[in-house]
């Protein structure tokens, strides 16, 4: 009889709160969006299921060590890869091994769009400060505007570990919603004529340039922003493994088995870190609001800077400002959005090749930004 009571005490039915139920619905929504609409399923399925695991109600610190915030739990061990900042660089290693920097090498001026589209990071930083967040918290929230999951997780794990969960969830949510967020801003800030600008086909790129890119990009960004080394070091290493052609087997493993293993564990622990008892706070709500504005500012920054550059470019060399929006990163969703919006204005105008340049530059840009903020705040 006592046994039955103890069993019930430990069961989810005794420990459930409305927060748990809410988060379970959120988890199911993530899974639904991932499966039904194929919005970033590689991330939303593990995160969504992690939310379910983390929000099955259990007695915390009851000796069973189930919660992700309890020492000695399996989830806690796996979560160390997030908290210690180890997983994001490993994911960048795999991403580097699958990224083709040719579009960027063949038209270097487009790199600047990837810088301009980090505007949201710094605007949101200011906004978050004015809402009462501390400096390190504000920087971590701002980085959502970098539209890059691993960078957001890495920076917040260093500066504001208690916010990693909310920031990561916000970043991935808005990255999945890029096809809804960006188009209105793109139409608002461009004229019909601008959206029809056709760009010259990019020149082809030699193997030598492709091999030199990761080496020199590492040295340049590393000298200017050493804080970005853990991320960009791995990104460019992965890329060199790919482009050197002599380490094909390493590149293959990095972009398959390795990144998959890390992605699963990262996703499920990020999801589980949204445990209702610690996650549902005023901060989390504010972070979601600030994150949305961060994405909008970044999008606007990229577009407006493209228009600004056009002032100095002669006819025939002008940039279609739609591809500025791809500078936020959110690879490759935002480049797809540029392509789709371009086709709406002129069904024969394929922008995607051009949009990939600011798109991958945006990854570098947000990592540099993260490094700079670390050097200021640590």
């Amino acid at each position: 009889m006592d046994g039955l009571v103890q069993f019930l005490d430990y069961s989810g039915f005794s420990n459930i709160t409305p927060g748990h139920l809410l988060m379970i619905l959120v988890g199911m929504l993530f899974i639904y969006l991932a499966i039904r609409f194929e919005y970033q399923p590689i991330l939303l399925v593990p995160i969504g299921f992690g939310i379910l695991i983390g929000n099955t109600p259990f007695i915390e610190h009851g000796g069973m060590a189930l919660g992700i915030y309890e020492d000695g739990s399996v989830m806690n061990y796996l979560y160390q890869g997030v908290l210690k900042g180890v997983f994001p660089p490993l994911i960048f290693l795999g991403i580097g091994a699958m990224t083709d920097f040719s579009p960027l090498i063949s038209n270097p001026k487009l790199i600047l769009l990837g810088a301009a589209a980090q505007l949201g990071i710094f605007m949101t930083y200011i906004g978050a400060i004015s809402l009462g967040f501390t400096n390190p918290e504000a920087a971590s929230i701002g980085i959502i505007g970098g539209a890059d999951g691993p960078t957001a997780i890495y920076l917040s794990s260093r500066l504001a570990p208690h916010l990693v969960g909310s920031i990561a969830i916000a970043a991935y949510t808005y990255m999945a919603l890029v096809p809804l967020i960006q188009p209105p801003i793109m139409r608002l800030l461009t004229t019909q004529k601008e959206r029809r600008i056709k760009m010259k086909p990019p020149r082809s790129v030699t193997r030598m340039e492709k091999v030199m890119f990761p080496v020199f990009a590492l040295l340049l960004t590393g000298f200017i922003s050493p804080g970005s080394l853990p991320l960009l070091g791995m990104l460019f290493l992965g890329n060199l493994l790919k482009e050197s052609m002599v380490t094909k087997r390493l590149a293959d493993t990095a972009r398959n088995a390795m990144i998959d293993i890390v992605t699963i564990i990262l996703g499920v622990t990020i999801g589980a870190s949204t445990q209702a008892t610690t996650f549902l706070t005023r901060s989390s709500v504010l972070i979601f609001i600030l994150g949305a504005t961060a994405f909008m500012f970044s999008t606007a920054g990229g577009i407006l800077f493209a228009r600004f550059m056009n002032l100095f470019l002669r006819e025939g060399n002008k940039i279609n400002p739609l591809i500025g929006a791809a500078g936020v990163a959110a690879v490759p969703e935002s480049a797809r959005v540029a392509q789709i919006e371009g086709l709406k204005a002129d069904p024969t105008n394929h922008l995607i090749m051009h949009a990939m340049a600011p798109n991958v530059a945006g990854v570098i840009g947000s990592a540099v930004a993260a490094g700079i903020m670390m050097s200021f705040l640590l």
Binding site: P108, Q118, I224
Partner: protein
Amino acid sequence: MAVTGYSVVFLSLFLLALLFSVIPKVLSWNIRRTFDDEGDEAKKALAGNMIPGEVSAAISVAISLYLNELHDQDTAILTIKKVGKSYTPWNSKIYNVINFKGFQR
């Protein structure tokens, strides 16, 4: 911090853009020198590293395929990727020789 930060991001990506505007010129200067006595053909090849019209057309086709999410393509490409090289320092080509022998038995 916000202003400095944003400026530094610009600075570093600007330098990157500058560097990779210069590098191809240096490289192609090298190539030109190498090919110099091989005459016109080499120069033509160099001039031709703009992607020609037919390729652009092909890209457009590819994009429409992609927008219709034809996964067959996916498949084909990955299959090609799978055919990889072995771990060089250990089993590499020498072991292949041994394997090869095995096939003859």
